[in-house]
């Protein structure tokens, strides 16, 4: 009993902070989402409008388009980060000259603020002054102009996200790989398993929890990407990179459409939870059921 009380006492500061900085703002957003509220309207007050904002979200072509490009962005970014992150983790498991140096360099993007990352990539991709358009033009005769081409803009935002966040995946997977016991690998080698078989039947199942945890983190992060993209493309050209985070930003801040913007935020939160649940159900739950 004593230890239970002590446990709650120790948890209390965290729970209080979480309540005030997590739960209360969420409840407020939920509350606002049921109102029409634009402080620059003729009537600047909050007007309760039932679920009108949610009804609007479902039929909002701009939001649906935004959701579509976001799903594509998340898919390409997270899958690429996982593959490249795993390859780098495997590389860093081996010894080679300058390993510590390269591992440090590789981690540097992680410590940069997203707005700085966006600025750097903007400088690198601006025609005339950017290094990338110049190199691509000089070496391959390829015209890179992300202010003009929707596909190029989308691709560059994906690459920027990969550049920024792959080190996180690498570090997570290095931690998982380091913790693996050597016995199953030695036994598999004695039994004559090749590298591909070892990867599919031993390494991958053993690091699956780390992979899934990393995917959860990256999925949630990628779904709410704002700063980098806003700085790099502003959501353009047109709406090609107007991901839901950027869409919500433009709806809530410049347009001061607080009620409707809150409703979109709640819907996006719901979709994120659903996506994570689907991932959990398809990858973790069957395994636990089999164990049970």
């Amino acid at each position: 009993m004593h230890s239970k009380t002590l446990g709650w006492a120790l948890l209390a500061p965290t729970l209080i902070l979480l309540f005030f900085f997590g739960v209360v703002p969420f409840i407020y957003v939920l509350f606002v989402s049921f109102h029409q509220w634009n402080p620059f309207a003729v009537n600047p007050d909050m007007i309760f409008n039932w679920a009108e904002n949610y009804r609007r979200v479902v039929f909002d072509a701009q939001f649906l388009a935004s959701l579509g490009v976001t799903i594509a962005f998340v898919f390409f970014a997270v899958v690429s980060e996982l593959i490249i992150g795993y390859a780098l983790a495997q590389a860093f498991m081996r010894d080679f000259p300058g390993k510590a140096f390269f591992r440090t360099i590789h981690t540097l993007p992680l410590i940069m603020a997203p707005i700085i990352v966006g600025s750097i990539w903007k400088l690198m991709t601006t025609p005339s002054i950017g290094i990338l358009p110049n190199i691509l033009d000089d070496w391959f005769g390829y015209n890179l102009n992300i202010g003009q081409s929707a596909l190029q803009a989308f691709t560059v935002t994906v690459i920027m996200d990969i550049w920024h966040w792959t080190p996180l995946v690498t570090l997570s997977l290095i931690a998982a790989l380091v913790s693996l016991p050597p016995d199953p690998f030695e036994q598999a080698q004695i039994d004559g398993a090749n590298k591909r078989q070892i990867f599919w039947h031993i390494t991958l199942p053993m690091i699956r929890p780390a992979i899934i945890a990393t995917v959860f983190i990256r999925l949630m992060d990628a779904l709410r990407t704002v700063d980098e993209v806003l700085m790099l493309t502003g959501g353009g050209p047109g709406s090609a990179t107007r991901y839901v985070g950027v869409h919500i930003f433009k709806e809530v801040f410049p347009r001061t459409n607080y009620g409707y913007g809150s409703a979109i935020s709640v819907v996006v939160l719901y979709l994120t939870i659903v996506a994570c649940w689907l991932l959990y159900v398809s990858l973790i739950a069957p395994r636990n059921t089999r164990k049970g």
Binding site: A41, S128, G147, G236, F253
Partner: protein, 478 residues
């Protein structure tokens, strides 16, 4: 000898009087500031040359005199608004001064966000500097007054968006001869849109033919930033006779032609097509250019002419560390359609954008009195000349006559003369409290026009309808 003695005595008397005046001025600031010793004022503004001057020069000077610390946060245009509006909306009182761009002041006044400067200084005369009178300010200050003629913002920058051109290129004999041969007329700054296009086409081709990084015009045509929307609605459309974004506030805020607006009028469509052609022959970075990049493009010598915000004119024309076209910048009025100049002269229209901003004191500020002292401090005539050199901005009438400013005016090709003599022909943003709301509602369609996903005619039809829908939703349009 007698005359020399008189001159010497007069000079001595003058310098003594000036010294006394300075001492009196200093004593006011010291005495007025003493009651606020230890106070820290916090301001948020856009990172522009004039604002940076306030942060780096004027704020430390004021602190030294009064003991009131001034922290000015310079940030991007979007962030500046985001922070200021959130602070004033939530009533947190973080900021004691916010930058009010000319186009947002009507929204702030409608929400009673700002402190009445005139009223407060009248009620508390002990706060009023003997060196400050509202009549010192240029007519730009009129944009920051309410219906009772009370001032709500102390102007810190004011500029028009003129037509800049490269004097070295326009006076190059080889280029002049080639232009004459091709077009049959002399090369001179354009007065009409047709002439402007002809010059732009000529220089873009000239750049190609001579393997130069030179194009015929700038274009502020970012495909995802409001800068492009502004260039069209505030700088281009008015030169075709489409004013106030094509919205008629006297006619139930109509935007569509069928309801009496002009946003999708034939003139608006002609203006957009003209500008889209210029965008196509402008440097490739134009589709990613906001106002800042347009200035750097021109300063890099990559464009022969363009519409460039005047806040950048000084450094483009005079700062060799940043500009490759120093001494080669000419200034002219933008090219106009027939009748637009007459509209501007009669006050029915305007030629282009007269922009700028002021520092206002939010009603939520916890240090209003100290902030008002600071605003009066930066409005002093004797501080204006160096500020004008740093940021090509003039907000006091006396600044035009300062020898340093007149010298810069020569380098700028007469920009300050134009600001003084023809500034009235330019117009600020319309007095709409729904500025950002209509812009953001219609901007996605505008960006789709820029990417070619929608044609200009169809796009403007959609934008006009969307503007009316937004105005109805906000309650302005019945």
């Amino acid at each position: 000898m007698n005359i020399a003695l008189k001159i010497g005595a007069s000079a001595l008397a003058l310098s003594f009087a000036a010294g006394m005046a300075a001492a009196q001025d200093d004593s006011f600031w010291k005495e007025a500031g003493a009651q606020f010793e230890g106070v820290t004022l916090r301001g948020v503004t856009e990172a522009t040359p004039p604002s940076n001057y306030v942060k780096d020069v004027l704020a430390p000077q004021f602190e030294e005199l009064t003991g009131i610390r001034v922290d000015i946060e310079t940030t991007s245009w979007d962030q500046m608004y985001d922070k200021a509006i959130k602070d004033m909306e939530a009533g947190t009182g973080i900021y004691d001064m916010v930058y009010i761009e000319q186009d947002i002041v009507y929204a702030y006044l409608a929400r009673d966000f700002l402190t009445d400067i005139t009223g407060t200084l009248t009620e508390k005369p002990e706060l009023k500097s003997p060196a400050f009178e509202e009549s010192m300010l240029t007519s730009f200050a009129e944009f920051f007054r309410d219906e009772d003629d009370h001032l709500y913002g102390m102007p810190v920058e004011a500029f028009i968006k003129p037509y800049l051109y490269r004097t070295d290129l326009f006076s190059d004999p080889e280029i002049m001869a080639a232009f004459k041969e091709q077009t049959g007329r002399d090369l001179a700054p354009a007065k009409t849109h047709e002439e402007y296009t002809e010059i732009a086409d000529f220089f873009t081709q000239w750049g190609k033919d001579h393997d130069l990084d030179l194009w015929g015009t700038t274009a502020q045509a970012h495909t995802g930033h409001a800068a492009s929307w502004y260039e069209y609605f505030e700088s281009v459309a008015p030169t075709f006779g489409v004013y106030n974004w094509g919205i008629d506030p006297e006619n139930n805020y109509a935007a569509t032609v069928e309801n009496g607006g002009q946003m999708n009028s034939p003139e608006a469509k002609e203006a957009l097509k003209w500008w889209l052609h210029l965008r196509d022959i402008a440097p490739p970075e134009s589709v990613q250019s906001t106002w800042t990049e347009v200035a750097t493009t021109f300063a890099a010598g990559r464009a022969a002419q363009g519409l460039v915000y005047g806040e950048n004119a000084a450094w483009i024309a005079s700062d060799e560390n940043q500009s490759r076209v120093v001494g080669n910048v000419g200034v002219a009025l933008p090219p106009l359609s027939e009748g637009v100049l007459e509209d501007a002269e009669s006050g029915e229209g305007y030629l282009g954008y007269y922009d700028g901003g002021a520092f206002g004191v939010p009603v939520t500020s916890k240090n209003k009195e100290a902030a008002l002292l600071f605003l009066q401090y930066i409005a002093q005539d004797e501080l204006q000349a160096d500020w004008a050199l740093a940021g090509s901005r003039i907000t006091n009438n006396a600044t035009y006559d300062d020898p340093k400013v007149q010298a810069l005016n020569e380098e700028l090709g007469g920009y300050f003369d134009m600001l003084r003599d023809q500034g009235d022909l330019f117009g600020g943003a319309p007095a709409y409290p729904f500025h950002a709301q209509v812009r953001e509602a219609t901007a996605p369609i505008f960006y789709s026009i820029l990417t070619g996903d929608i044609g200009p005619d169809e796009g403007l039809d959609q934008m006009a309808a969307k503007a009316e829908e937004e105005l109805t939703s906000l309650g302005y349009r019945q």
